[in-house]
């Protein structure tokens, strides 16, 4: 079992969701974050004063999947999130040591059943 964490542009969330649905992945959790990476922030003026915005709004998506689904899932996320411009984001994959479905009490890979 792996936990896939992806950061990408908020406006791509719909595309990513559709791409995941197409692969049969329906379970996920999204949250909004402020991130920095390759894409530099920008400077603005507010009331005549410079303001450095170096944390940009991104979405962070968590998808826990069985090991055999990992590549497929990453591909789907990539496909949905890619625009080719700086700021497209990252995917990180972590090992899940254990899992449990709260409603049923199922554990391990069963939770993805």
């Amino acid at each position: 079992m792996k936990l896939i964490i992806a950061y990408f542009r908020p406006e791509q969330l719909n595309a990513v969701k559709q791409a995941l649905y197409a692969k049969g992945v329906h379970s996920m959790s999204a949250t909004n974050i402020a991130g920095s990476g390759r894409q530099k922030g920008y400077t603005e003026t507010y009331r005549g004063v410079m303001i450095e915005v170096n944390l940009l709004k991104k979405v962070r998506l968590e998808v826990a999947v069985k090991d055999e689904k990992v590549t497929e899932t990453m591909d789907a996320i990539s496909a949905g999130a890619q625009t080719g411009k700086e700021g497209d984001g990252m995917i990180f994959v972590l090992d899940i040591a254990d899992a449990r479905r709260i409603r049923t009490g199922e554990t391990g890979e069963m939770v993805f059943g």
């Binding site: 406006e11 969330l13 909004n32 603005e44 507010y46 979405v59």
Partner: protein
């Protein structure tokens, strides 16, 4: 200087206005100790008209709140700016040009042409001073017409081109059709002159049809329609602002309609009654219609109902009975819901706030209703249902049609012109990021976590 605080006219002594005031007040000469006993009708009219104008001015805040609340957080600053600056630009435009075209000396029934920059106004006597009050009253009406547009074209229009638009609409488009009906133009010269007491057509329809032209030329917001043309919902971000805006508009409408007597008459309360009943009934009708169609009383649709009723009663507010007002409101409430759906799903015109249906469609509906429901007891004219025959109705139809052709046509031309010059639509990227960041470099809700995913 003792007991200065008991004097009612600080201005008199402090500012030396004495000379002026003497001219203003009807009874020629007066000294401080033998003040004129009674308030002149003229100054009573000035007071009432000014107060009404102030209430109408406040409707700008109502429009700003409604439009902001019904669009997305990422464009809130932009829509606020548009609402602030159409009033600013519009005031100046109407002062320099618009008023002259609307109320200046008539040229062939089509347009007025004199008194630019209030050049003919004077402070010499009460009549001269009245001119200023009247200008202010008309100015806030003109600003109402133009601010209607911003809602329908929200979330995708370039700020600079909207500024030009509001200048041009207030300077030229609105005044010309306004001249036809209120300024002594051809629609008021018909045998049975058109009745549009407070401006269902003059103000609201004009705004609504220009808005429609704009929404058509601009096209829908990104994401509003799927590839196969199915409408998608893009929910507004702040319902409390919407409700506040509707209350402010309702409040201001008691200046809009009763104030259109521009005189401190006895029937201003009656006009408030018809206005209020139509709004209340339309709200109920719209809510029930939405409830029946969608299974739940949709908040924003119900609130649109209030405005639909207010717009519809505006033409006939001084000419229909309270019962008539209830019926007109009832019709407008149903109509606005169906119209919003029709525009959205059938015509596929993307109007984020429902401005076209509320102001254009219900404005036309209300104007026509005068031909049906005008009651001789109330405004001296009889509509079809009160035995007045068809003549009034026919005039109303002519008026509604002519104003549609004019304002929709002028709107198309203006938007087309702006499109090929400064450009009217922001880039797709700007639209996605939001106009606040890209056009103004600021966020409306700094610090708040907002999930902007489309």
């Amino acid at each position: 200087m003792k007991r200065r605080w008991t004097l009612s006219t600080k201005a008199l002594t402090v500012v030396g206005l004495a000379a002026l005031v003497a001219l203003v007040l009807p009874s020629a000469g007066f000294a401080q100790d033998e003040a004129p006993e009674f308030l002149s009708q003229q100054n009573g009219n000035v007071m009432w008209t000014l107060i009404a104008a102030i209430l109408v001015m406040f409707m700008q805040a109502g429009f700003a709140m409604v439009e902001t609340g019904l669009t997305r957080a990422k464009n809130a600053g932009n829509i606020l700016m548009k609402n602030m600056f159409d009033f600013s630009a519009g005031s100046v435009a109407f002062f320099l040009v618009g008023f002259a075209l609307m109320f200046g000396d008539d040229i062939g029934g089509f347009v007025g042409f004199s008194n630019f920059g209030l050049s003919e106004a004077n402070t010499a006597d009460a009549d001269g001073l009245w001119g200023y009050t009247f200008w202010f009253f008309q100015c806030v009406f003109a600003a109402t017409a133009v601010t209607i547009v911003s809602g329908a074209i929200a979330e995708r229009t370039k700020f600079v081109s909207y500024l030009f638009l509001s200048f041009l609409v207030t300077a030229v488009v609105y005044p010309i059709s306004g001249h036809w009906i209120w300024g002594g133009g051809w629609l008021s010269q018909l045998e049975t002159p058109m009745i549009d007491f407070a401006g269902s057509t003059v103000v609201h329809s004009v705004g609504g049809w220009i808005a429609m032209a704009g929404a058509l030329v601009l096209g829908p917001r990104i994401g509003k329609y799927t590839k196969d043309g199915v409408a998608r919902a893009i929910p507004g971000h702040n319902l409390p602002l919407v409700a506040l805006g509707v209350f402010i508009l309702w409040f201001g409408w008691f200046g809009f309609n009763p104030g259109s007597t521009t005189a401190a008459n006895g029937n201003i309360g009656l006009i408030a009654v018809t206005t209020n009943l139509a709004a209340a009934m339309a709200a109920l009708a719209a809510m029930c219609t939405a409830w029946l169609r969608y299974g739940k009383p949709d908040v924003s649709m119900s609130l649109n109902g209030v405005l639909a009723g207010l717009v519809a009663i505006t033409a006939g507010c001084a000419n229909v009975s309270p019962m008539g007002a209830l019926i007109i409101g009832f019709g407008a409430g149903i109509l606005v819901v169906l119209s919003i759906e029709f525009l959205d799903k059938v015509l596929k015109i993307d109007d984020p706030v429902g401005a076209i249906s509320v102001h254009g469609v219900c404005g036309a509906f209300g104007t026509l209703c005068v031909g049906l429901f005008a009651s001789p007891d109330f405004g001296g004219t009889a509509g079809l249902f009160y035995g007045g025959g068809l003549s009034q109705l026919i005039t109303q139809i002519i008026g509604v049609g002519a104003v549609f052709v004019w304002s929709f046509g002028a709107g198309l031309v203006l938007f087309a012109l702006l499109k090929i010059t400064v450009g009217i639509r922001v880039t797709a990227e700007e639209e996605l990021k939001g106009l606040d960041l890209t056009e103004h470099g600021s966020e409306a809700y700094s610090g708040f976590q907002i999930f902007i995913t489309e």
